[in-house]
Amino acid sequence: MYALNYVKAKSVQEAAEFLAANPEAKLLAGGMTLLPTLKQRLARPTHLVDIAGLPELRRIEAKGGRLVVGAGMKHHEVATSAVVKKAIPALAGLAGEIGDPQVRNQGTIGGSVANNDPAADYPAAVLGLGATVVTTKREIAADDYFQGLFTTALGEGEIVVRVEFPLPKKAAYCKFHHPASGYAVAGVFIAQTAGGVRVAVTGAGPGVFRWSAAEAALAKGLKPAALESAKLDASGLNSDIHADREYRANLVRVMAKRALAKLSGKK
C-alpha cells in the first residue's frame, strides 16, 4: 500500500466537502474491497475518508411500504435485522450469504453498491426489487444506477447515503457461489413487485442486468416451465477459468428456477 492520509469524517457533509476539496481522496467504508485493492497498489488515493459508523448512514427502517437501509449497515447487521427479515426476508438471506463471517462483520451495503462488482450480491437485490439509491446529491432508480463492470451513475464525490427498497409481494434470491471467494458465479433475484415480475442476474455478465425474456415469460404465471424456454443470449456473458459462457447461461437458468421454487414455497 502506498503512503496515504487517514481522515475520520464527523458527518456525511464533512466527508462530501473533503472529497470536493481533495479530488484524489477516496471514501473508506468497510474496506473489504478497497484495502485489498490498495495493497495491490492498483489505486493511489491521497486520503482515505472513513465514513464507517456515521450515525446518518446507520438506519434500518420499514415504513410507508419501503425498507430503508443506511449505506453504513454491515452485511451481518442486515442479515440478522428483525426489521429486514420481516420486510424482505430474501434481502436478509442474501446479505447472510456474502463472503464469509469476517467479511460480513466489516463490509457495508453502501460500499458494495458503490463498487458494483459484477459478481457482487447486493446489486441483484437493488435491481431486482427496483430500489432507489439515495445519494448526497439525488435519488437514482436502480434501472439507471448500474452501468456495467464496476460502473455506476455516481459522480465525483457523490456519496451513497441509503438504499430504499419498495416492499415486494414476494422475493427470492439464489446464487451459485464460487467455492473459494463466495462471490456469485451466477446469482438470480426474482421479485413479484407492484410493477410486475422483475428478474435480476449477477455474476454472469459484465454487470448486473435484468433478464427481460424471463420477466415476460413469468408475467404470464410463475411457472418453472416459463423459464425453460425464456431466451438468454450467452454471447454477452462472462467466460473465465471458473465457468465458460454457455455454462454460465445454463447456471442462470438453474438459479432462476431455484429462486422461483423458493418464491413459491414460502413468502
Binding site: 487517514y6 475520520k8 485489498p36 495493497k39 472513513d50 463471517p101 469476517q102 466489516q106 473459494a180
Partner: protein, 158 residues
C-alpha cells in the same frame, strides 16, 4: 502519522503509526503480539482473525486507525491466568491442528461463531469457518474441536 489508542486484551495501547499501518502489523510489530498470523495478506485465509468490538474480523484488512478507540481481543487474550480457554482446550484435545499456523485464526473465528450460535450443526460450522483456511488438517478435527468447544462452553454456562 496517526495517533492510535486501542484497548487490546483489556489494556489501552497508544502508538503513533503510519496511517497505512494495518491492524495486524500494529498488533505484531508495535505490541509484539505475534499470535495473530499473516497467512495470505489478501483477505482470504483468516489466519489474522481477531475480534474488534466483539466481532471477528480479518486484521490484515483493517487499518489500525480504523480501530482507533475500539476494543480488540487477540489469541493472547483468550487464556486466563495460565488456564486455556475452553476453545483452546478443545483444539488441543481433538488434535484440531497440525502445524498450528491457522489455529489462532480458527480459534478466534470459532469464538465468533459460538457467540452467535452456541450449538451449531456441522453445516453451520462449515459456514461459520468459511473465512478460514487450513493447509494441513483437512478440517475434520477442526470441526470436531468446534463441536467440543461448544459443548465445553455450554457446560460452563450451566
Amino acid at each position: 502519522m496517526a495517533k492510535v489508542t486501542i484497548k487490546v486484551n483489556g489494556t489501552n495501547q497508544t502508538r503513533a503509526v503510519e496511517d497505512r499501518t494495518l491492524l495486524v502489523n500494529f498488533l505484531r510489530d508495535e505490541l509484539g503480539l505475534t499470535g495473530t498470523h499473516v497467512g495470505c495478506d489478501t483477505s482470504q485465509c483468516g489466519c489474522c482473525t481477531v475480534h474488534v468490538n466483539g466481532r471477528a474480523v480479518k486484521s490484515c484488512t483493517l487499518l489500525a486507525a480504523q480501530a482507533n478507540g475500539a476494543e480488540v481481543l487477540t489469541i493472547e487474550g483468550m487464556a486466563k491466568k495460565g488456564k486455556l480457554h475452553p476453545i483452546q482446550q478443545a483444539f488441543s484435545e481433538c488434535h484440531g491442528l497440525q502445524c498450528g499456523f491457522c489455529t489462532p485464526g480458527m480459534i478466534m473465528a470459532t469464538a465468533g461463531l459460538l457467540k452467535d450460535n452456541a450449538n451449531p450443526t456441522e453445516e453451520q460450522i462449515y459456514k461459520g469457518l468459511e473465512g478460514n483456511l487450513c493447509r494441513c488438517t483437512g478440517y475434520i478435527n477442526i470441526v470436531k474441536a468446534v463441536k467440543r468447544s461448544a459443548k465445553l462452553l455450554r457446560g460452563k454456562a450451566r
